[in-house]
């Protein structure tokens, strides 16, 4: 039987540790992905992810179900990411090293994928990461929540505490900047003739 998040929360509050364990297993990857895309550092993203679940565990008895459990977790994670950015007083870091270890890269390769495609995929991923790091925090957050976590406009608005139209404006402006930056990056990496 598959329990819903709310059912698992209720069982956890009742003392069933395995239920909270199930929630962690279910949401660990999305929360980590959110933190990584916001911060840009694997280790710090891992710390934020762990801290998110620790805080959720400690505050679980106060969770009244006014919002979805996932939204509550996202809010905790976003606040921690924001604290990290302000504490570090800098934009997210593009962590990918300049010198790529081809052996590590090859480990991610599909069996039928040519090495040239693999390198191109890696370069594009880094270009996206660099472009995202340029965006203001609120635009980056809106795009991450929409593109990678599938939240609706209303859910994003409720999560970050802004009007619906503001969410759409941030998405439009963010995508417009990304379009320009990715085009510039593509032009810069094109072979000169």
């Amino acid at each position: 039987m598959t329990w819903t998040d709310e059912e698992l929360v209720a069982r956890s509050i009742g003392g069933d540790a395995d239920s909270f364990n199930e929630l962690v297993l279910r949401w660990e990857r999305p929360i980590y992905a959110l933190a990584y895309r916001q911060i840009g550092r694997e280790e710090d993203a891992r710390d934020v992810c762990q801290e998110t679940f620790l805080r959720a565990y400690r505050a679980l008895s106060g969770f009244r179900g006014q919002a979805k459990f996932s939204s509550w977790l996202y809010r905790i994670a976003l606040n921690l990411c924001r604290d990290w950015v302000r504490r570090e007083r800098r934009a997210p870091v593009v962590q990918a090293p300049e010198d790529v270890d081809l052996l590590d890269l090859a480990a991610t390769r599909e069996p039928s994928e040519p090495i040239e495609d693999l390198v191109a995929r890696h370069d594009l991923s880094r270009a996206v990461e660099r472009a995202m790091a340029i965006l203001p925090e609120e635009q980056r957050t809106a795009i991450i929540l929409k593109e990678y976590h599938g939240l609706t406009f209303q859910e994003i608005a409720d999560l970050v505490g802004c009007p619906l139209s503001t969410v759409k404006t941030r998405l439009y402006q963010g995508l417009t900047v990304l379009r320009r930056e990715l085009a510039r990056s593509e032009a810069a990496s094109a072979p000169r003739t």
Partner: protein, 278 residues
């Protein structure tokens, strides 16, 4: 409603984004779709933003490293149950053999990190590099683990934790040990009843909370000290600047006065020379 340069009656950007993501009111999306048939500018922009979304989809986040700590009845358990690293080790240590009575606990925090041993365990080689699967299996078996401390832990924290763990172990009833314990040997997991694990976890949590509160207070004090130092230095610098500026002003005034006197003497000489009879 306003009219934009492309002729769309309404908030064009809002409508475009809603259409792009297929989110929002159906009427709004239908209205914009009808507009697209007649507007090349919007069609072009929509296509470009769709291209951006395709590129965004290629950015994948790395997978979080799974952390297996306690060997619970369900098998693999997540890292969250073991809190920070040093608390993970302390909690993991408690899964140990007590068939012969109270285990001989030893908790050390030194340059190599936090090490927790029982009298049952032989020290692991300090130079051996463990792989992740090996580490997970060993934690399941509760061998001693040395970890890099994630946060500062005082010796009194460890001593207090050791005492409380000993007291908790003493409280384990022989009947429950017989029912749940298995013979301890390297690599063999052992299970405690859920109530004991819960109590031990509560102890570890309390120590972690106390340690964290202490660290936060120390951090706040240090930040306050740094701010006071910076403010005092700034005041001193401002005073110096003020004095230097005053010195410069004085020098400039003196120089100007000398020049005026020189000019006056020159004028006097010129006047006198003009009055000299031919």
């Amino acid at each position: 409603m306003s009219e934009t340069s492309c002729g769309f009656r309404g908030d064009r950007e809002d409508a475009l984004i809603a259409y792009l993501y297929d989110d929002g009111h159906a009427i709004e999306r239908a209205s914009f779709e009808a507009h697209l048939d007649a507007c090349a500018q919007c069609r072009e922009e929509l296509a470009e933003l769709r291209g951006v979304r395709v590129q965004l989809a290629r950015w994948s986040a790395p997978s979080p490293e799974p952390a297996v700590v306690l060997a619970g009845e369900g098998g693999r358990q997540a890292w969250w149950q073991t809190m920070p690293a040093w608390a993970q080790v302390a909690a993991a240590l408690l899964v140990l053999g007590v068939a012969a009575g109270l285990a001989n606990l030893n908790v050390r925090y030194d340059g190599s990190g936090l090490t927790v041993r029982t009298g049952w365990m032989t020290p692991s080689s300090p130079t051996r590099t463990e792989t992740a699967p090996e580490r997970a299996a060993r934690v399941d078996a509760l061998a001693p683990v040395s970890v890099t401390p994630a946060s500062a832990v005082t010796r009194s924290d460890l001593a207090a934790l050791e005492q409380r763990l000993r007291a908790e172990l003493r409280a384990v009833q022989p009947s429950s040990v017989d029912a749940h314990a298995t013979l301890v040997r390297a690599g063999a997991p052992i299970a405690f009843d859920a109530d004991t694990v819960r109590r031990i976890r509560a102890i570890v949590e309390q120590q972690v909370d106390a340690s964290e509160r202490r660290q936060q207070n120390e951090l706040a004090l240090r930040v306050g000290q740094v701010m006071r130092d910076v403010s005092a230095q700034r005041q001193a610098d401002l005073v110096k600047i003020d004095r230097s500026f005053g010195y410069l002003q004085t020098n400039t005034s003196v120089e100007a006065m000398r020049q005026r006197e020189a000019l006056q003497r020159l004028n006097y000489i010129v006047n006198v020379s003009q009055k000299v009879p031919q």
